[in-house]
């Protein structure tokens, strides 16, 4: 039974990882930008939700009405102000500038909110620890199910948006060939800014669920970035459903690791990530082609 419970917990945890990896993978797929501030930005969203819940006493879910558009706007400004400029100076510059941004964001949060650890769990009643019994002593958490469901809706919605809407097609075309889209009348700067906006809206959702399922402080971003990175790479960067697969693989590995040894949670996750990474490097032909294909952002 504990085996089955570990699988279910792992899969559901994978939903959270897919959610946090989705924005990272999306930004890389469309804009070719590896955003190292990704985790810290999720913490910004979490703090914004916490602030509204704690000081203004609104439900965190209700606070999303303000925080989602706010983070989207931040994404737009980020693209126009920092990412676009640094991407123009070469592939590596965005990595440096977003690394710098992460440091600035972390310390700004520290300055504003101090070193205390916070959580959104106290503001949502008993949601964070309620669970269903599946029978036979098997329990699954309500929050875990909600997280997984939202992740599926988010990824599915994004997929539908990319496949069937004119703007979604423009985003895919810009990911494939940013110079040529201009020649068919697409404003690629606008499209990239929209992509950054969408990425940060997903980051805000990830921030919500991070805050609900655990605690955070101003410096929690880097660990979230690592999880996002691992899920995105395991699943194949730039592919949305791949991200879900990657998240699930990571979640299941971590849950099994935790069952084996108290320290096994992180170790098992890292081990699977390294295995996949090394596998990709040493099993070139077909796997590598699949990887490259997804890396050029074919969102299908």
């Amino acid at each position: 039974m504990s085996f089955l419970s570990a699988v279910i917990d792992g899969v559901l945890l994978g939903g959270y990882y897919a959610m946090i990896a989705c924005g990272l993978s999306f930004m890389f797929g469309v804009m070719r930008i590896i955003n190292l501030a990704h985790g810290s930005l999720a913490i910004v969203a979490a703090f914004a939700l916490w602030f509204i819940a704690d000081r203004l006493e609104y439900d965190p879910f209700l606070a999303l009405i303000v925080v989602l558009p706010g983070m989207g706007l931040l994404g737009w400004l980020l693209q126009r102000g920092i990412l676009e400029r640094s991407a123009r100076s070469g592939e590596l510059v965005p990595i440096l500038s977003t690394f710098g941004l992460a440091i600035v964001v972390e310390n700004a949060l520290f300055e504003c909110f101090g070193a205390d650890t916070r959580s959104l769990a106290p503001y949502v009643g008993s949601l964070s620890y309620d669970s269903f019994e599946l029978g036979g002593g098997l329990y699954i958490g309500e929050l875990a199910i909600l997280t997984f469901a939202v992740a599926i809706l988010l990824l599915g919605g994004l997929q539908l948006f990319l496949t069937y809407t004119p703007l979604g097609r423009q985003i895919r075309a810009t990911a494939e060939d940013p110079d040529t889209v201009e020649l068919v009348g697409v404003n690629s700067r606008f499209v990239n800014a929209v992509a950054a906006l969408i990425a940060l809206v997903t980051v805000a959702l990830a921030g919500l669920f991070l805050g609900l399922r655990s605690s955070f402080d101003p410096y929690s971003g880097s660990l979230q970035l690592i999880f996002a990175f691992e899920a995105a790479v395991i699943g194949g960067t730039g592919s949305l459903w791949g991200t879900l697969r990657g998240g699930i693989v990571l979640g299941v590995a971590q849950t099994f690791g935790a069952h084996l040894h108290p320290q096994g949670f992180l170790l098992a996750g890292h081990a699977v990530f390294l295995l996949v990474l090394v596998g990709r490097l040493y099993v070139p032909a077909q796997l590598l082609r699949v990887f490259l294909k997804s890396a050029v952002g074919s969102f299908r």
Partner: protein
């Protein structure tokens, strides 16, 4: 007034000056062939008109409106469409999606996906196929169709026959001919002199970034054009003066 007028255009690739003081006009309904050896500046000139490459000096006017510093996508909305060299389709997207993308500029006009399919019947069975799986001729047809979907007033075709089998070239040109008959304004780069003379009413020959010979496709002789192409005139002039 001419549809397109270019005056004293200079274009650089870094230190290399690819186009030097080029001036010409294109009238509504004309088909102009641009010919010249590799590196003469033909592609650069087309890309500069479309906006993909910025001119360092000179002016590009469409219907009297200055486009010189307008971004590429806005020029599409003004009615300029380039079919780029090498086709540059979105390979991971279907033929239909490639055509739909070109709707972005929102220019009104008569071109629809169905009309593209009628103009290029070979695309009909391939409508839902990914562009990466198309044959060269089908890809070229899609690329031209994609440009037409923007409802252009001026169509720029860059070496549409490059890399195609002779049969595919015939098919593509058959469709280009039907466009010409329907009154489209086309500026095309073509390496095949015979074909260039056949489809166009005016020919411009470029050499080292300059237009050296320009005239009606009817009156220019092959010899005049090949002389210009290889730069014989220039050499003769140089020999005469030394």
């Amino acid at each position: 007034m001419s549809l397109l007028s270019i005056s004293a255009l200079d274009i650089r690739h870094g230190l290399l000056q690819a186009v030097r003081e080029v001036s010409f006009h294109v009238d509504q309904g004309e088909t102009i062939a641009l010919i010249g050896a590799n590196g003469a500046g033909k592609t650069t000139l087309l890309r500069a008109i479309a906006g993909a490459h910025r001119a360092t000096r000179g002016q590009i006017l469409l219907d009297g409106l200055d486009l010189t510093s307008m971004p590429t996508y806005q020029r599409v909305a003004m009615g300029i469409a380039l079919v780029p060299e090498g086709r540059r389709l979105f390979a991971a997207m279907t033929v239909e999606e490639n055509l739909q993308i070109a709707r972005a500029s929102g220019r009104k006009g008569e071109w629809t996906i169905d009309r593209v399919m009628e103009t290029f019947p070979m695309l009909k069975p391939r409508r839902k196929a990914l562009c990466g799986t198309l044959s060269g001729g089908e890809q070229q047809a899609t690329a031209i169709g994609r440009a037409l979907m923007t409802n252009p007033r001026l169509l720029l075709l860059d070496e549409v026959s490059l890399g195609l089998s002779p049969l595919a070239v015939d098919l593509v040109y058959k469709s280009v001919d039907s466009l010409i008959v329907s009154g489209a304004t086309i500026l095309l780069v073509e390496q095949d002199l015979k074909r260039a003379l056949k489809v166009s009413n005016r020919v411009m020959c470029m050499l080292e970034g300059r237009i050296v010979v320009e005239g009606s496709a009817k009156t220019l002789t092959r010899e005049q054009i090949t002389d210009a192409y290889f730069g014989h005139q220039k050499r003769r002039r140089a020999e005469a003066s030394s």
